[in-house]
C-alpha cells in the first residue's frame, strides 16, 4: 500500500474518531441537561412535600384547636346544665319526702328519674369529650375489691328484676383483696356494660363473672339479649354509634357509652373483647391490670338511706353560693337535719363574715362565684385562720377540677359533684366527721 493510501485511511479513521467524540459530547450535554431537569423536578417535589406537610400541619392544628374548643364548650355547657339540674333533682328529692298525695309523689318520682337520666347524658357527653382530649387522669383510691363489686352489682338487681331477667353475679374468692385503683372509672365501666346488657336483653339472663388471675382482673358479662351482628361489632366502640339501629328507637342514649367504656379500659391499660351472635346473646370480657394495696381500708358501713342522726349534734354550717336556688336547696336539706346555716353570696362576703364569727362545723363552698371564687376564698381562709377547724366541702359542677389536683386537695376536705343526691351530701358529711 502506498503512503498516499495509508494517509487516506488515516484521515478517514481520524474523521470517524472526531465524529464519535462529537456524538459523545452531544450525549454528555444532553445527559447534563436531563440531570438539571431531574434536579429541578426533585427540588419542586421536595418543595411540594414541604408545602403539603405545612398545610397538613396547619390543618391538624386547626382540627386540634377546634377539638379543644369543642371540649371547652361541652365542659362549660355541662357545667351550666348541671347547676339548674342540681336544683331540679334536689327539690324533687326533698319534695318526695314530704307528706304529699300518692299521685303527686308518682309525678315527682318521674321528674326525679328524668333529671337523673338527663344528668347521666350530660355526664356521658362530658366524659366523652374529656377522654377524647386525653384530659382524663387516673385518681387511685384504696378499697376492698370484693366489697365494692358486690355493692355495685347489687344495685342492678332491682332493675333486672323489673325487666323479669334472671340476674346473677359471681365474684371469685381471691377478689377479697385490698387494691389501689381508680374506683370511679372502674365503676363507670361496669355500669355502662351491665346497663347495656339489661337494656338490650328482653328475656333470659344476665350473668357477671369476675375473677382474679395474678394481677389481672377478668370480668365477663354474658347476656341472652339481641346480640350484635359481625358488622356492628367492628363499629360498636366508635362514638355516637348505636348498634341494633332498627330497634334503637326503643333504646335511648347518646351512643357514647361503649366508646367511653373502651377509652376508660384503654386508660386503665386493659383490654376488651366481644363475642356475640345476633338473636342469641353477647359475651363481653374485659381485663384490667390491678395494683394490690397494703393500706388499711376502713370498712364502710354506710346506710343506703342516708343519715338522719345529725339532729342531736347541733351542727352549724356556712353556705357560700351565688346561685340562690342551689343555696336554698342546700339550706332545706340542712334544715331537715336541724343544722343551723347562714348563706353568703360570694367569697368576699364569706371572709367578712368569718372575721366576726367562725363558729361553724362545715363550709359548703361553690367554686365559680363572682368577686372572689371558691378556691381563692378557701386559700385565704386557710391562710388567715390555720386553727379554724370547719370542714370545707367544695361543691362543683366540674368534678374534674378536683380529681388528682394537689392544689385543691390541699385546701378542701372533700368535694361533691353537682347535682348531688340528698343522701350523698349527708353521707359525705358523716364520713368527714368520722375522720
Amino acid at each position: 500500500m502506498s503512503d498516499h493510501e495509508y494517509k487516506k485511511i488515516h484521515e478517514r479513521e481520524k474523521k470517524a474518531r472526531k465524529l464519535a467524540e462529537k456524538i459523545l459530547e452531544e450525549k454528555s450535554l444532553e445527559l447534563y441537561n436531563l440531570n438539571i431537569q431531574l434536579q429541578k423536578t426533585n427540588e419542586d417535589l421536595e418543595k411540594n412535600v414541604i408545602e403539603r406537610t405545612k398545610e397538613l400541619e396547619e390543618a391538624k392544628n386547626t382540627a386540634e384547636e377546634l377539638a379543644e374548643m369543642k371540649t371547652v364548650f361541652l365542659s362549660k355547657m355541662s357545667h351550666e346544665m348541671r347547676t339548674p339540674l342540681n336544683a331540679i333533682i334536689g327539690y324533687a328529692s326533698l319534695l318526695e319526702e314530704h307528706d304529699i298525695k300518692y299521685e303527686s309523689k308518682e309525678i315527682l318520682s318521674k321528674i326525679n328519674y328524668s333529671g337523673k337520666v338527663l344528668l347521666s347524658l350530660i355526664n356521658n357527653v362530658l366524659d366523652h369529650s374529656r377522654l377524647e382530649a386525653s384530659r382524663e387522669t387516673l385518681v387511685n383510691s384504696h378499697f376492698d375489691l370484693e366489697q365494692e363489686l358486690n355493692e355495685l352489682f347489687g344495685i342492678f338487681e332491682l332493675s333486672a328484676r323489673n325487666e323479669k331477667l334472671d340476674y346473677k353475679y359471681e365474684i371469685s374468692d381471691n377478689c377479697k383483696q385490698l387494691v389501689s385503683l381508680d374506683l370511679g372509672k372502674i365503676k363507670q365501666i361496669y355500669i355502662n356494660l351491665i346497663g347495656n346488657a339489661i337494656k338490650f336483653t328482653e328475656v333470659g339472663s344476665i350473668s357477671i363473672l369476675v375473677s382474679l388471675e395474678e394481677n389481672i382482673l377478668i370480668s365477663k358479662i354474658i347476656d341472652t339479649g339481641l346480640g350484635i351482628s359481625k358488622e356492628d361489632q367492628t363499629s360498636m366502640f366508635e362514638p355516637f354509634v348505636q348498634i341494633n339501629r332498627n330497634e334503637s328507637y326503643k333504646y335511648k342514649g347518646t351512643g357514647l357509652g361503649l366508646s367511653i367504656t373502651k377509652n376508660l379500659i384503654n386508660l386503665l391499660s386493659g383490654e376488651i373483647e366481644v363475642e356475640s351472635k345476633k338473636g342469641v346473646g353477647t359475651k363481653i370480657q374485659f381485663s384490667l391490670p390491678i395494683e394490690f394495696s397494703n393500706k388499711e381500708v376502713l370498712s364502710k358501713e354506710i346506710s343506703k338511706e342516708g343519715f338522719t342522726h345529725f339532729k342531736s349534734q347541733k351542727l352549724k354550717a356556712l353556705i357560700v353560693e351565688d346561685n340562690s336556688m342551689n343555696a336554698d336547696l342546700l339550706g332545706r336539706i340542712l334544715d331537715k337535719q336541724s343544722i343551723l346555716h347562714i348563706t353568703c353570696v360570694d367569697g368576699r362576703k364569706c371572709l367578712e363574715l368569718l372575721e366576726k364569727n367562725r363558729d361553724f362545723d362545715f363550709i359548703f363552698m361553690d367554686l365559680r362565684m363572682p368577686v372572689l371564687d371558691g378556691f381563692e376564698t378557701t386559700t385565704k381562709i386557710r391562710e388567715l385562720y390555720p386553727e379554724f377547724k370547719a370542714k370545707v366541702i367544695l361543691l362543683t359542677a366540674e368534678p374534674s377540677i378536683f380529681s388528682g389536683n394537689i392544689k385543691f386537695e390541699a385546701i378542701f376536705d372533700a368535694f361533691l359533684n353537682k347535682p348531688y343526691q340528698v343522701k350523698e351530701i349527708l353521707n359525705l358529711m358523716h364520713d368527714i366527721l368520722e375522720k
Partner: protein
C-alpha cells in the same frame, strides 16, 4: 488535562512537522497513554509537558514558543467546534465571557475539567486579565488572546507580565489603540 488538548496538539505536530516527527515525539516521550488520545478522555498534565519538551528537542524550537504557537492554533479548533461562544460583539466582551460563561459550559460537559481562572479589571480602553493556573500555560493563553484579537479584527496591544516566579499567576494588560 482534557483529551482535546492532546488530540489537537498531535494534529498540529502532524500538520506542521509531519507524521514522522509526531511518531518520534510520541515514541520518545515515554507516555503512560502511549499517545493514544481521545478528545473526551482525560490525561495526565505531565504528558503534555513531555510532548512539548520532546517536540522542542526534535525541532530545536523553544518550548515556550511552541506552547504559544499551539495557543494560536487551538483558537481555530475552538472556533470551528464551538462557534456558539463567538457571538460576542468585540474582543473584550468575548474575553470577559471566558470565566463566567464559557468555562461554566465546559464544566457541564466535563465536570472533571480543571480550568484556569481569570479575574478582570476594565478601565476605559484597557482590560486587565489576571491569569491563574497551576499548569503554567500562560503562553498558551497568550496565543489564544492574540488570535481572538485577530478574529474580531481589532487593534489591541497585549503586555504579559509574570506576577510570580513559577508563572502560575500572570497579568495580561490589553489596550485598545
Amino acid at each position: 488535562m482534557k483529551g482535546i488538548v492532546f488530540t489537537e496538539l498531535c494534529e498540529m505536530i502532524e500538520k506542521e512537522f509531519g507524521a514522522a516527527t509526531l511518531n518520534n515525539v510520541i515514541d520518545k516521550s515515554d507516555l503512560e497513554s502511549k499517545g493514544v488520545y481521545s478528545s473526551v478522555g482525560t490525561y495526565k498534565d505531565q504528558e503534555l509537558v513531555s510532548l512539548v519538551t520532546q517536540l522542542s528537542n526534535e525541532t530545536k524550537i523553544a518550548s515556550q514558543d511552541l506552547v504559544h504557537a499551539y495557543g494560536r492554533y487551538f483558537f481555530d479548533v475552538l472556533k470551528n467546534n464551538y462557534s456558539m461562544f463567538f457571538d460576542k460583539n468585540d474582543c473584550f466582551e468575548f474575553l470577559k465571557s471566558i470565566d463566567n460563561h464559557i468555562h461554566v459550559e465546559v464544566k457541564k460537559l466535563y465536570p472533571d475539567a480543571e480550568l484556569p481562572t481569570f479575574s478582570y479589571i476594565e478601565e476605559g480602553r484597557t482590560l486587565k486579565m489576571n491569569y491563574s493556573s497551576p499548569r503554567h500555560l500562560s503562553f498558551f493563553a497568550l496565543g489564544l488572546m492574540e488570535r481572538t484579537i485577530e478574529h474580531y479584527e481589532e487593534d489591541i496591544e497585549i503586555i504579559r507580565k509574570d506576577l510570580n516566579v513559577d508563572g502560575s499567576e500572570v497579568l495580561f494588560t490589553l489596550t485598545k489603540k
